[in-house]
């Protein structure tokens, strides 16, 4: 129990733990200390804006309240009771408005602007600034997604503190000094970082605005829908702003255990894929080799029914892992109970063993030792987890990454082997993990048997008995676990994998873009694809049924922690959503599927989620208790990676965050997609006479690609890393030469 101190704010006595910020202390007492620059999530207060001036007994001058903490016997007077403080704040606002253009009717922030609000309440009613104001070129696109208006900037440094102290990308910086300071990037290069969009939300004026939301709507014309982003397995809570039925922007919604109010650019800006020009809005049937003809829903359902009936149960289903649990359950129930088609390509298995080490993501902040195992950068798989890791590191935790580009270098693909070594008695790191009360393991690599590997390690290290220690598995799909649960809940029967495949049902664009699913499609007689985008299915699907996006669905999804969260429909889809036509189709096979998600959830929750109700999930879903499951035995036969022989290099493809069918259809996000680059270690580059920026030829058995070289001093020699969209046809070992 921390020591309590008693202080007086505006004649009110308050008791708080020692060290609590004065702003929070006052807030707890129901007193407002207005702020612009103060934001506890950005680290220590800087007192840059001077809005929080308060009078403190015994101090001759006004003090910045945000920089002070609660001390015993402090007597604080805010603007409410102190004329001096009120005058100070009034003068501060007059000063802030000295060069502020007051173009509120034009500004996107107008109506939700802290500067507007606080000027209205604390500021001078009139202006004495009759002379011309300082002007700049505006708006400056500091990236295709963010516009900067320097005239409006009040130099609170929230954005640069975010860039420096939260995202740690160090790209948005102040230039020059004092009143001449400008917010800028290096040499007008775009602000290219996975979390850049957060600065828009942090900006307390209209200096940093979203280009997508630019002049789209005003705060009184919009509806905000609380939902959950399912672009990656983190499941950040978001607020979707819609106007006239169209999604206009996505804002973060603070779930302190999941995202802390941060949101990556993919979650924030990728929504315009809803309006992609190749969006499927009508069922399509293949005509000739590479064409589609629009058919009516009646025809489509007839055709689907005919194809499914004719398959004689020889049906394989490929799921994306981006479906809602209800949608996957509806599909599973139709196919499994109605047609006896039990064969499915599930996006990714998740082992329940990981539930024995379940923790909220916020536990990472409190950990003292964090070990990330795997070759994939955490930011590419689950971006917000990377922010938690950075927060932990700043708080003094030790973060060890073990992989081909980690702080401890291992051969690519040896994550499972690393786990074995850590569990063994010879490992110093393993010993420290065992001794620590607050240690966390994170698996950030493909494979790993759905977390079973990392769970086995956690079990051996004795994490089950330590409530502060836990393990996370970073899956590749947003809701793979929920989809697998739904598929399992639909039926207990099992069936053989059919050969040959009569019908392949492909659910979702991710599955349709998957090369394995495409290979399966070659063997199938008929392919039914449920996709959002026509080009994804073009040329290989026989029947296309329109799909919807997570922003258009009601339902639930399970994130990487195992937290069940509720999605809400923000925009009405341009087509009937999957569950509604699945319900009609299921009726033709005598299967009862409700067209509404709530009854579907009720039905399946009884089987797999212990009768949980949607009401219990709420807007900020809680995490279920740790399960008591014995850790699995480690998989003995892990394939060790091939060492490089100097001439050939091991190719390490990774799936970038800014990839996928949705991101491809957002023009503003194209600059975030990985460049056609090959990452080379310093040694390998030196040996081949390659320097950063050179064009190089990457060759493997029969295929080759011309890519730009980028040197990565952290990469293990003998390994090259390429984003998988650029490494498509390359084999596991490659040769890199200058052409």
């Amino acid at each position: 129990m921390p020591e309590l101190v008693t202080l007086t704010i505006d004649d009110r006595e308050v008791q708080v733990p020692k060290g609590t910020g004065l702003v929070e202390t006052a807030m707890g007492a129901g007193i407002e200390i207005p702020v612009f620059c103060y934001e506890p999530r950005l680290g220590p207060a800087v007192g840059a804006c001077r809005m929080c001036l308060v009078e403190i007994e015994g101090m001759p001058k006004l003090q910045a309240g945000c920089t002070m903490t609660a001390q015993d016997g402090l007597v604080v007077r805010t603007a409410a009771t102190s004329d001096k403080a009120a005058q100070g704040q009034n003068a501060t606002l007059e000063f802030l408005l000295l060069n502020h253009p007051l173009d509120c009717p034009v500004c996107d922030k107008g109506g939700e602007c802290p500067l507007q609000d606080l000027t209205f309440r604390y500021g001078p009613g009139t202006t004495r600034m009759v002379f011309p104001k300082r002007t700049f070129d505006k708006p400056i696109p500091i990236s295709p997604t963010i516009a900067l208006d320097r005239e409006r900037c009040i130099l609170c440094y929230r954005c640069t503190r975010f860039s420096e102290g939260v995202a740690e990308d160090h790209q948005l910086v102040p230039r020059n000094r004092g009143a001449q300071t400008l917010i800028t990037t290096f040499e007008e290069e775009p602000y290219r970082a996975p979390f850049s969009g957060n600065v828009i939300e942090l900006c307390p004026v209209g200096a940093l605005t979203s280009t997508q939301y630019r002049f789209e709507a005003r705060p009184w014309e919009i509806q905000n829908v609380p939902t959950v982003c399912t672009m990656c397995p983190v499941g950040c809570n978001v607020t979707v702003t819609t106007r006239e039925g169209k999604v206009k922007r996505i804002l973060s919604r603070n779930h302190p255990e999941v995202d802390q109010g941060w949101l990556c650019d993919k979650g924030r800006f990728a929504f315009s894929h809803l309006r992609a020009e190749d969006r499927v809005t009508q069922p399509l049937r293949r005509v000739r080799r590479r064409g589609f003809a629009t058919i009516s829903w009646e025809e489509a359902l007839d055709e689907t029914e005919r194809v499914l009936r004719g398959a004689g149960g020889r049906i394989v289903t490929a799921l994306s892992g981006s479906e809602t649990i209800e949608h996957a359950y509806g599909l599973a129930k139709l196919l499994r109970t109605g047609l006896g088609a039990h064969s499915a390509v599930l996006p990714e298995e998740t082992d329940v063993a990981i539930d024995a080490f379940r923790l909220p993501l916020s536990a990472i902040r409190g950990a003292e030792l964090i070990v990330v195992v795997g070759d994939d950068p955490v930011a590419e798989r689950a971006p917000v987890v990377d922010l938690w890791l950075k927060l932990a590191r700043r708080g003094g935790a030790e973060v060890v990454t073990i992989g081909a580009a980690g702080s401890v270098l291992t051969a690519p693909g040896s994550a499972a082997q690393t786990c074995r070594e850590l569990a063994g008695s010879g490992s110093e790191l393993g010993r420290r993990l065992r001794e620590s009360e607050r240690a966390i393991l994170i698996w950030s690599s493909p494979g790993g048997h759905g977390g079973a590997e990392i769970a086995a390690l956690a079990g051996e290290l004795g994490f089950a008995g330590k409530p502060g220690s836990g393990a996370f598995h970073l899956p590749a799909t947003p809701n793979g676990r929920g989809v697998a649960d739904a598929w399992a809940a639909a039926s207990d029967d099992e069936g053989p994998n059919p050969e040959p495949i009569a019908v392949l049902v492909v659910s979702g664009d991710e599955a349709a873009s998957d090369p394995h699913v495409r290979a399966l499609a070659e063997r199938a007689e008929t392919v039914i694809a449920i996709v959002m985008f026509e080009r994804v299915a073009l040329g290989w699907a026989d029947l296309v049924l329109p799909g919807t996006s997570y922003l258009e669905r009601d339902g639930t999804a399970m994130n990487l922690e195992g937290r069940l969260q509720r999605l809400r429909r923000a925009a009405i889809p341009p087509v009937a959503d999957e569950l509604s036509w699945l319900s009609q189709l299921a009726a033709r096979f005598g299967v009862d599927v409700s067209p509404y998600p709530a009854p579907v959830f009720e039905e399946l929750a009884g089987t797999v989620y212990g009768g949980l109700t949607l009401g219990e999930l709420g807007e900020r879903a809680a995490l279920a208790e740790r399960a008591q499951i014995p850790a699995p035995a480690p998989d003995p036969d892990t394939e060790p990676a091939r060492p490089s022989d100097g001439h050939y290099l091991n190719l390490l493809p990774y799936r970038p965050l800014f990839a996928g069918a949705a991101v491809e259809r957002v023009p503003e996000l194209q600059f975030q997609r990985p460049a056609a680059e090959v990452e080379l270690s310093w040694d390998d580059a030196q040996r081949r006479g390659i320097s950063s920026g050179d064009e190089v030829l990457v060759r493997s058995n029969g295929t080759s690609a011309t890519l730009r070289a980028r040197l990565n001093r952290r990469l293990l020699p003998g390994v090259v890393r390429i984003a998988d969209e650029h490494a498509r046809d390359l084999h596991a070992t490659v040769e890199v030469t200058k052409p």
Partner: protein
């Protein structure tokens, strides 16, 4: 330069502390901090070029634009301002035919207004290639300019 910066980096507990000496090396090498020089420093320190530029722009001693062969700096901070630094600066402007912050057309002389040079007892302080002349009065300016032009 990379190796040189690595040496300096090793002397500090945190790499960020080495930014100033590393920038100094780059400036000595290139004359001013070109974008490429900043990129090079950033690469050597494992920082971003934006961060290096931000630091460099804060300090008067770093040049983010090309400067002439000779550098004339006039302190315009409070102590010097009280004894007429503005007049001295204007005298230089007139004599050289350029405004503060500009370089003469022949690339010989750059004139800048400087923040406090630390010679507050002997204002106005004028630094010619970092060597102080003090106190300087407007009437001394033509002689200094002549000297600078003559290469003295």
């Amino acid at each position: 330069m990379y190796d040189e910066i690595q040496e300096i980096k090793a002397q500090y507990p945190r790499t960020r502390s080495a930014v100033l000496p590393a920038l100094r090396i780059a400036q000595q090498r290139y004359g001013w901090l070109t974008p490429d020089a900043l990129r090079e420093v950033a690469d050597a320190l494992d920082e971003t070029p934006a961060f290096c530029q931000s630091v460099a722009s804060f300090y008067d001693m770093f040049h983010l634009a090309p400067v002439g062969r000779r550098l004339v700096e006039v302190c315009t901070n409070i102590s010097c301002a009280l004894v007429g630094a503005q007049q001295v600066l204007e005298a230089f402007e007139q004599e050289l035919g350029i405004r503060a912050g500009e370089t003469t057309d022949d690339g010989q002389v750059t004139l800048r207004a400087l923040e406090c040079a630390g010679g507050c007892g002997w204002g106005t302080v004028v630094a010619v290639d970092h060597r102080y002349r003090e106190p300087v009065r407007p009437e001394d300016v033509p002689a200094i300019v002549q000297e600078v032009r003559d290469g003295g």
